[in-house]
């Protein structure tokens, strides 16, 4: 059932149904970032499910505490990986957030800014581009550094997260079709993303090069857009569905075998698009693959060059928990001559980015991030690799704060480097 | 002297044959002039009721090997002997458990289970040692390293309380969390809480192969480390080190017993021969060492049992050898038995010896018990050392289990 069209009653009925999958064993607790930080049952998946069941059964009202927990959750879905009885908490969370929005239980600047950004900015490519033009100019003129002391605390923190915005020429959209190199192995589409297209254009270009090197013709549909994940996570199923439909149409026309995504968050959302908008998205959802999973399954063309570095791979939550992809990126990295994959203590824990969580829940986000950074600091790699734009930004900011020497990159950039410059 | 009417009253409750009046036998300065020999658990309960009603007390006696461990009795008492509570009454080879009555001698119980491939995993010294006595004293020998300690081997107990109530705890199964684990409390309680009538024991399978080694040394350096290394071999069942001190000289003897499957024992044997400079020995080598643990201290001697962390065995041993005549070490268990000789009956010397034992125990991160001492030397002292913050608990537990103070009176830790 399309959550956007569900009534409140229907949503609560669905929440109740899903809560019944939970046998209350507690195996999810240690995997939950907010439980690890607080030790509070109510801030654990099991507690949140119990709470939601309590509301669904009318034992407690949909009160402030429920709303707080609905948004304190990072939505990392580590609990889903841990759950023996198959509770799908991610979707329960989205339903409950939609209900919190309906009940208008959230307020404050964050709610207003978020609402504006998600509805009026992110879905609109041109507006985003304008914003990034402006930010790039500000950064080039170093106005940001001058202004930094004058900014309110929240904006200062936001600023710390902001990566260097590439110059305009690097933010040009890639060609609509990139031909395969060598023996042609297939035709795939690439999701370039919304913010990622502006801030991580180089990752998109690296992805295109690596796919081409591996014999894939890549289509980059012009009329694609934001995947809607942030909206779904933020309790706005209407916009999420609308955006998902746009991409279903765009990629449907492109006639591709697979839709390759290099952003774990987008990939996880797109794979579940049929749950939002129903059967019309089934074929689309079935084609979505994370770039690492896709290349690993296809069989990677061995890179010719070397990349000498000790690399820690860090799992994006929405790849390892959301899509169940853990080995593929590691397999790819292991095939790079010279690269040494180093384990670290907390690879599958959330980094605290979680969409815009690092803005709305600064303290918790930092606590969650610190745990990961302590693990990374102990491993002391040359490079940290992770395949999601939010995580890249968060880990970069964190690495700078912890004064780690490691660079933080997308795994595809390492592959791209190992293939060497285009001949 | 026990009043005539008390004896008659007890005899009436138990039957004449269960009461023996005899010439006084000394127990830590107390003359004990009668022994009760109840024939079954019901009789144990009746005996306790009668003893209590007569205003007397009882000291439970199994094989009599560890009666010397305890403080001075603080009231008139009779012996309550478990010897008629004898026999293995249930044994299921497919389960590896048996039920033995308290007065069953270890050797007798072992003879029953051994033909079926099992052994009674108790290893306390003393030919007359009984199942009940070993449990009540939590007595160990060197093989506790391989077998485990009584606390880990007792599955269930039947216990007659001072009130005459008969109770049981635990059960016959090998895994059990049904209610409080009172087994642990009775094990090592030296008969101060109740009288053990019988016990369910976890048995150990007989090893396919055993191998025994001896080694010697004339210097203390490295002895602890060598013993510990041997004890940490996978098949090591017992390691004992006897040190005799003669002035600056000392004579060190090792006995090492391996037990397990043949290939592993053979591998460990080769290792022991190479690294411990040991040679094969006859089967009784460990038992001879164990006999040293069981022997009474000399007339003017004290024996302390000290427990220490493995890493501190060596310094504690060195410290003890500075003052003791002989020390027996079970390195895998972290136990040292140290003999001290007194020149004469002098309380000052005893004070000093207790302080020395306490210091050594502290250095080892453990505690001490004075397991053997002449009665005069126990005067005014707690042979169990100080049980520190748990003393109020000890007092309180005793009060609840034996408010009339009729069981092993005054002799347990804290003088209860």
């Amino acid at each position: 059932m399309d959550p956007a069209r569900q009534s409140s009653t229907e949503r609560w009925r669905e929440i109740l149904e899903r809560s019944l999958d939970c046998v209350h064993c507690g195996l999810c607790l240690p995997t939950c970032p907010t439980y690890r930080e607080t030790g509070r049952e109510i801030s654990s998946p099991r507690g949140r499910i119990y709470l939601l069941r309590g509301v669904a059964e009318g034992r407690i009202p949909l009160a402030a505490a429920v709303a707080e927990e609905a948004y304190l959750c990072l939505g990392c879905r580590a609990c889903e990986t841990a759950c023996p009885s198959g509770v799908r908490f991610g979707s329960m969370l989205e339903l409950s957030r939609a209900e919190v929005e309906v009940a208008q239980l959230r307020s404050g600047w964050a709610r207003r800014l978020e609402g504006w950004a998600l509805r009026s900015l992110v879905p609109h490519r041109r507006r985003l581009r304008l914003l990034f033009d402006l930010l790039a100019a500000v950064q080039r003129l170093r106005l940001d550094r001058l202004a930094r002391p004058l900014l309110p605390r929240r904006l200062r923190e936001l600023h710390a997260l902001l990566p260097p915005i590439p110059p305009k020429r690097d933010r040009r959209p890639p060609p609509e079709i990139v031909p395969a190199r060598g023996e042609r192995r297939g035709r795939v589409g690439l999701l370039t993303g919304c913010i990622a297209a502006e801030a991580f254009g180089h990752v998109n270009r690296a992805t295109l090069r690596v796919l081409a090197r591996n014999g894939f013709e890549v289509v980059v549909p012009r009329d694609q857009g934001c995947c809607g994940a942030l909206h779904a996570h933020g309790g706005d199923p209407e916009t999420a569905s609308e955006l998902a439909r746009r991409n279903v149409a765009a990629f449907g026309r492109a006639d591709v075998e697979a839709i390759v995504v290099n952003s774990a968050g987008c990939g996880a959302a797109m794979r579940e698009a049929n749950a939002w908008i129903g059967s019309e998205a089934e074929a689309f959802a079935a084609k979505v693959r994370d770039v690492s999973e896709f290349l690993d399954a296809a069989g990677l063309q061995p890179p010719g060059g070397r990349f000498e570095a000790r690399v820690c791979y860090d799992d994006p939550c929405h790849l390892v928990h959301g899509q169940g992809v853990a080995e593929a990126p590691r397999n790819l990295l292991r095939q790079i001559p010279g690269l040494k994959l180093e384990p670290h203590d907390d690879p599958a824990g959330c980094c605290g980015a979680a969409g815009i969580y690092n803005l709305t829940h600064r303290e918790m986000s930092n606590a969650v991030l610190d745990r990961k950074l302590r693990a990374l600091a102990a491993a002391d790699p040359d490079v940290i690799a992770t395949g999601n734009p939010g995580c890249l930004m968060q880990l970069r900011a964190g690495a700078a704060r912890f004064k780690l020497r490691a660079r933080v990159v997308h795994p595809i950039e390492l592959l791209d480097a190992a293939y060497g410059p285009d001949a | 002297m026990i009043p005539r009417e008390a004896v008659q009253r007890i005899a009436a409750a138990l039957g004449e044959e269960a009461v023996e009046e005899h010439p006084a036998r000394e127990l830590d300065g107390l003359a004990v002039a009668a022994t009760l020999r109840p024939a079954d658990g019901e009789a144990v309960a009746r005996a306790l009721e009668a003893v209590g009603a007569c205003g007397l007390a009882a000291v439970v006696k199994g094989g009599g090997n560890r009666l010397g461990i305890g403080n001075l009795p603080n009231r008139e008492a009779l012996f309550l002997a478990t010897e008629r509570l004898s026999g293995v009454d249930e044994f299921e080879p497919a389960e590896g458990v048996c039920h033995a009555r308290a007065g069953t001698r270890l050797a007798a119980a072992d003879a029953i289970v051994r033909p079926h491939g099992w052994e009674i995993p108790f290893d306390a010294p003393g030919e007359t040692a009984t199942v009940g006595g070993v449990i009540a004293a939590a007595a160990v020998g060197p093989r506790a390293h391989g077998h485990g300690r009584p606390r880990d081997l007792v599955l269930g107990l039947e216990v007659a309380l001072a009130s005459g109530q008969r109770t049981h705890c635990g059960g016959r199964v090998v895994k059990n969390v049904t209610g409080y684990d009172l087994n642990k409390l009775y094990t090592g309680s030296f008969g101060s809480l109740g009288v053990i009538e019988g016990a369910w024991l976890r048995l150990r399978p007989l090893p396919e192969r055993t191998a025994v080694f001896e080694a010697s040394a004339s210097r203390l350096e490295g002895v602890g480390a060598r013993g510990l290394a041997a004890a940490r071999r996978a098949t090591a069942r017992a390691v004992a080190i006897a040190v005799s001190v003669r002035g600056a000289e000392c004579d060190v003897r090792f006995a090492i017993e391996l037990a397990g499957d043949a290939p592993s024992v053979e591998r460990d044997a080769a290792w022991i021969e190479e690294h411990c400079d040991a040679r094969a020995a006859e089967a009784g080598a460990v038992d001879r060492m164990r006999a040293l643990q069981g022997r009474d201290a000399e007339a003017f001697g004290l024996r302390f049992r000290i427990d220490a962390l493995s890493s501190r065995l060596e310094p504690v041993l060195a410290q003890l050898c500075g003052r003791c005549t002989s020390v027996l070490v079970y390195p895998g268990l972290g136990l040292l038995f140290a003999d001290l000789r007194l020149d004469r009956a002098d309380a000052g010397q005893v004070d000093s010896a207790f302080r020395f034992a306490a210091r050594s125990a502290r250095a080892g991160g453990g505690s001490f018990v004075c397991e053997s001492a002449p009665a005069w030397a126990k005067q005014g002292r707690d042979v169990f050392g100080a049980a520190a913050s748990a003393l109020p608990l000890i007092e309180s537990l005793k009060q609840r289990f034996d408010p009339g103070r009729i069981l092993n009176p005054g002799r347990f830790a804290g003088g209860i």
Binding site: D21, V23, H24, C25, G26, L27, L29, P30, G39, R40, E41, I42, R46, L51, G54, R59, I60, A65, A82, P84, S85, G86 | E92, E95, G117, L161, Q165, T167, H168, C169, G171, V173, V174, K175, N176, V177, T178, G179, Y180, D181, L182, K184, T187, G188, S189, P205, G260, D261, S264, D307, A308, S311, L335, G365, F384, A387, A390, L393, L397, R400
Partner: protein, 479 residues
Amino acid sequence: MSGLIEALASVVGQDGCLSRPEELLVYECDALTLHAAKPTAVVFPRSTDDVVRIVEACRRFGTPFVPRGAGTGLSGGATANEGAVVVECSRMNRILELNAEDRYAVVEPGVVNADLSKAALPSGLFYAPDPSSQLACTIGGNVAENSGGPHTLKYGATTNHVLALELVLPSGAVVQLGSATGWTVGYDWVGAVVGSEGTLGIVTQATLRLEPIPEGVETLLGIFADVVAACRTVSGIIQSGLVPAALEVIDRRTIAAVEASVYAAGLPLDAGAVLIVELDGPAPALPAQVERVRGIAAREGATRVEVARDDAERQRFWRARKGAFGAMGRMAPDLYVHDAVVPRARLPEVIEKVCAIGDRYGLKLSNVFHAGDGNLHPNISFDRRDSDELERVIAAGAEILETCVEAGGVISGEHGIGSEKRDYMGLLFSEADLDAMKRLRTVFDPDGVCNPGKIFPTTRFCVESNPRARGYDRVPLES
């Protein structure tokens, strides 16, 4: 009541004291959802001193308290009866010392079981008790429940690995019990406190024995036509003198549930039972032991015995065992995990009776069990909203326990009595037996304020079902 909450907040801060109704709702049960009771407040101490002050505050206001770890217990041991304050130890989660040479660790109660083994790994050591919830459950809870696990067979349960404890008594006094050397002078208080289900005080520190990681491990999977043959093999192995690390049996119904779930391990659906045998120890011992187990299994009619060739295959063998819980959980909204022990030689007949009970009550019942210990775990999938089914679940549970006791067994092997089984204690213990336990209780908790309503039976039930235990009301404890 707000006075108490203020007092608690003054100890642990606002952030460390929960009292809103929504927050309390989620603490109304542990992993046994059938028994629920809402606490007055939930507090998060960070130190022994905090615990002392919490206990003192509770005493001042006459409110009982209950320690809680991760809430993974299956007997309602952490349920806050009588409006107790939950003392949640999850923030006391430091490993204070890890002494590789002397092979022990000193930990706070909130340390997660698996984290300790992980921390000990570089030293070549591990913490042996491995309850199925070991990724989540905490040492404090393990100590309270004397938790076991598959490897209890060889290594023993929690009680065999606790060397010393720091305990805050219900009076607020702090006592140190036991010693890192493993030897105690006086009573074995550590032995008495382990498994006392949080009724004797709050453990604030535990010193635990670590074991050397075994040199080698071999895992076998035996396929049997029926559960009786699997159990006979277990008896044969025990009788042969082998001490495997684990002996686990999965019955036909569980195989069907597992193979229909995401945990499918490729087990043959027509098998009556599978037996997992794990052998560990010195490497030279293992080949011969593997052959002996094969021989015994063949003699008892195994249709096939596989030996794991590598770690991946070992994981596959265990997947079915470990996934059983989840697989059963997917069959219905609720899952009742029973726990009882029988003499291991009586397993075959008892299993048959247990299945017959499930059938008679029309329940979805299956068995996975620690066969080497005789520790049964009949799992019943049900829906608690169906009151008729719920009644049948309870009635069947009672019959299962009676059956086990008749066979010479006991009513809990590793989950504890808690709220769940206190009214069945009379099946096993006489008035005098329970009285002895109460004497111990009153030494520590004379007023019955620490985790009330656990272990000891209530009068009502005893009178109805077991005249032997008449008169055992919970209060007053002090006689």
